[in-house]
Symmetry: C2
Subunit: 215 residues, 2 copies
């Protein structure tokens, strides 16, 4: 047996990234769902695979891989076509910097366990939690929009005319924003790129709402 198994959750942005990448690479995979609000990511059998108790985990090539960004790089190294990173080092640095603006500056601060902690620790109600979420999106989406609108390497997608790691991280964030009523009108370039992405079957098939565990 050498089947590929993704442990995720329909709404997890980081599992969503991995679904997009697997689809772009044309890799077949099964999914097992770990319901985050029910705490299934803390089940003993799952902690054996992923001691952090976070999704996603990818079982592939008889290895257990964790951390979505590490998984994306692994998939790109082991299945180079279509490439998620350009060939030149400066282009790769640009794509990674755009990806990490979302993956390191927005998502970690706004993921479920942090939002839950705000309520528990500071008594934040739903409105205050949503304000927090929108604040950190805006802090990064404003300069991200500026970069994407002004830098010559932006194309149909974040970098040129094929999707890269930057798009793989961007789309789940934009989708996640809809749950917190983020106003996207200040971000026309981000919105344009997002629309181009979700027209692609690889992105469309990875959307949360079409996963078997969607609620």
């Amino acid at each position: 047996m050498n089947s590929t198994l993704l442990h995720g959750f329909f709404r997890s942005s980081t599992a969503f990234r991995v679904r997009i990448a697997l689809n772009l690479k044309g890799l077949a995979y099964d999914q097992r769902f770990r319901h985050l609000r029910k705490g299934e990511q803390r089940a003993p059998d799952y902690l054996m695979l992923n001691p952090q108790g976070l999704v996603p985990t990818l079982e592939i090539d008889n290895h257990v891989l964790t951390q979505s960004l590490a998984i994306l790089e692994y998939l790109d190294e082991t299945h180079p076509e279509p490439a998620l990173l350009p060939k030149d080092a400066v282009g790769r640095a640009r794509v990674r910097s755009l990806a990490y603006m979302v993956a390191c500056e927005i998502h970690p601060i706004n993921n479920l366990r942090v939002l839950q902690d705000l309520s528990k620790r500071f008594g934040a109600n739903d409105g205050a939690v949503a304000e927090w979420f929108r604040h950190w999106v805006k802090e990064t989406f404003a300069p991200l929009e500026q970069r994407l609108a002004s830098e010559a390497s932006t194309g149909t997608f974040c970098h040129g005319n094929t999707p890269t790691l930057a798009d793989v991280c961007l789309v789940p964030q934009v989708i996640n924003n809809t749950r917190f009523q983020v106003d996207m009108t200040p971000y026309p370039t981000i919105s344009r790129i997002h629309r181009a992405c979700i027209e692609l079957p690889a992105f469309a098939a990875a959307l949360p709402d079409v996963q078997p565990d969607a609620e």
Copy 2:
């Protein structure tokens, strides 16, 4: 002119990562300091280089690079020796996953702008901010210790017997922890690796306290 210039701040964990990598690669560089508590990262001349208004920014090879993890990958691609990532894809995924445990699960939630926001938004006092900081360290250091203590690829350093991207991210976090009185006794493997790292000149010369802008 093709000199390398790092825009940073002595206490910034992410600038610290880049200093370590530049030192490991044996690359000469100048530093310009942007005092984060004085808001110098928001100065117009700096926002021209880095629209996010975050440190670090690296000017190198006539390019302007942002996002520390993207800079580290760039340095490793353009100056392959000594390598910050192993040669095999599974090893690279392991190193990156260890690095991202710190860089994506701890640091973004605990950096200065988030801590300042907790005070402003929720009225968190110094004690509450420190509790928050320690909570997110513990959430990740516990499984990180478990992985480093149990996985066969751990050596003198996080992966084998030469420092990698994982160590480059780990050491600044451990140093940062000291400011918030994080109890390190539950993490003997992390502590052992940290001590091995800071014995190396490349790490020692990158420490916050020996930077020209240290307070």
